[in-house]
Amino acid sequence: MKRSAGWIAAVYFVAMAVAITFPGIRPFNTIRPFVFGIPFVFAWVLAWVLGSLVIFVMLYRTYSK
């Protein structure tokens, strides 16, 4: 259980590092469509930050059992 949670988190953060740097960011590096009034690529980076909150909550719950 802890091991798989750790792996999911590791995969998420590696994917995040790829997705918010070059060249991984390239397909998402556009201004439109706006998301909640902010440019798409800005929202893209923000979404990865918010997603990390979900991953951390999952990790914390697994490890506090």
Binding site: F13, I20, T30, I31, G37, F42, V49, L59, Y60
Partner: protein, 497 residues
Amino acid sequence: MTSWQIVVAVVAVYLVTNLVVGLLPGSRSSDTVAGYVAGDREFGTLVMYFVTGASVFSAFAFLGGPGWAFSRGAAAFYILGYGVLGMAPYFALGPWAARLGRKHGYVTQGAMLAHRFQSPWVAFTAGIVSVIAIIPYVALQMRGAGIVLEQVTDGHVPLPLGAAIAYGVVLIYVWRSGVMGVGWTNVFQGVLMIGIAWAFGIYIPMKLYGGVGPMFEALAAARPEMLTAPGLDASGNPWTPVAYSSAVLVSSLGLMMWPHLFMKAFAAKDDATIRRTIMLFPTFQIFLLPLFLVGFAGVLYASAPSNPDAIMPHIMLTSGLPAIVVGIFCAGALAASMSTGDALVHGAASIAVTDVYGAASGTSLSQHDQRRLIRWLAVAVGVVAYAIALPSGLSLVGMLLAAYGAIVQLAPPVYAAFLWRRATARGVVGGLLAGTSVTGFLVIWPQWRPFGLHEGLVGLAVNIATLVLVSLGTQPPATQHVADWIATSRNRINQPS
């Protein structure tokens, strides 16, 4: 009262409150090094959350964040990205270090490395690198505080005086309360800076453009190059994807290597507190969003400040806000500067005494004397940083990136300690020296950077290569000691082999 006097009055109320919050917990910790440096290992989640968050978000975030969005557009997204990436490994490293700290009594990461590698020179080298990286970082915070006060008082409180007052307050509560003062003031400062950032981040785009959406519509029409990564460089030309990406990587790898952050593992009450702090960290990171919004609001603003880092105070002062609001903003900016500066001053002094002085002198001072020496060194760090902060024309963002280049060199020793049993003291010291020298060389002669990579990343590669080669070429470390050490970190009881 004229408006600058009202601003000064609001700031004075903030500084006095801060001082009281910082002095109160002083009598609660024991008269030992563990009490002064690690709060007797009693930090709960509330304090840990704000210590971590407020120490990461400094004057650089509060002024530099909007400054980057304003002058370099999407380049600022790198700041948004690296925070959680840097924090993530600490979910494992933090509890590992904390368990070892409880068992062996470490209060610094240098002491931890010295014990693992059985050599005080590891602590000595890591300590020197840390102090070299920390001092310009403190200078940057002081300058940030000074710039804000000078701007909002129309020059009535000049930069040197403003920086001296703000950091005088910091030194008083660090002297008296050590890490407890840092912890509780960071709770106060953190609440203040987050509240103020959100209030202004929503209000300014509303007032100037009628909302966040209309603001970006206007920007997309007028300056589309600012809204996609990698944005612009400092002189307004397109930034390169390599520079953007390596800035994210170096900052991610370096973030938790900052001693003032890493050391807080030794202050946490238990493992769950560390994990909860990391779980909640993205909520702190999101506070960059309103700061960026203010910066973007400045792009099409009628006038521009001479220094992009002053965009936030510039908008505050010229958009007709009442003086009391400007004063509150100023308190928020000072809180951002001081909440990082206090942890840095305290961290550098603790390292200089326990790691550098301890290894060089070979003598062990009494707990009481060590504690006293740390206090005096905190004052010394403050004075040296102040001397660096004063000359004008220094690029603060450049200084921060250079400091990151130095601090990221601690990553290979820390990871090797936990993950590579064959790593030796000579390998670690050699790697640190080689990596730091290469980084320093590339800071001074940037034209030698391969492919425009961040100098810290090049230094890191040299560091890792040296660590591996020298370790393999030197005598292996004592197997049982390393096995016990790693078993303690993982909370396993080691079977004698």
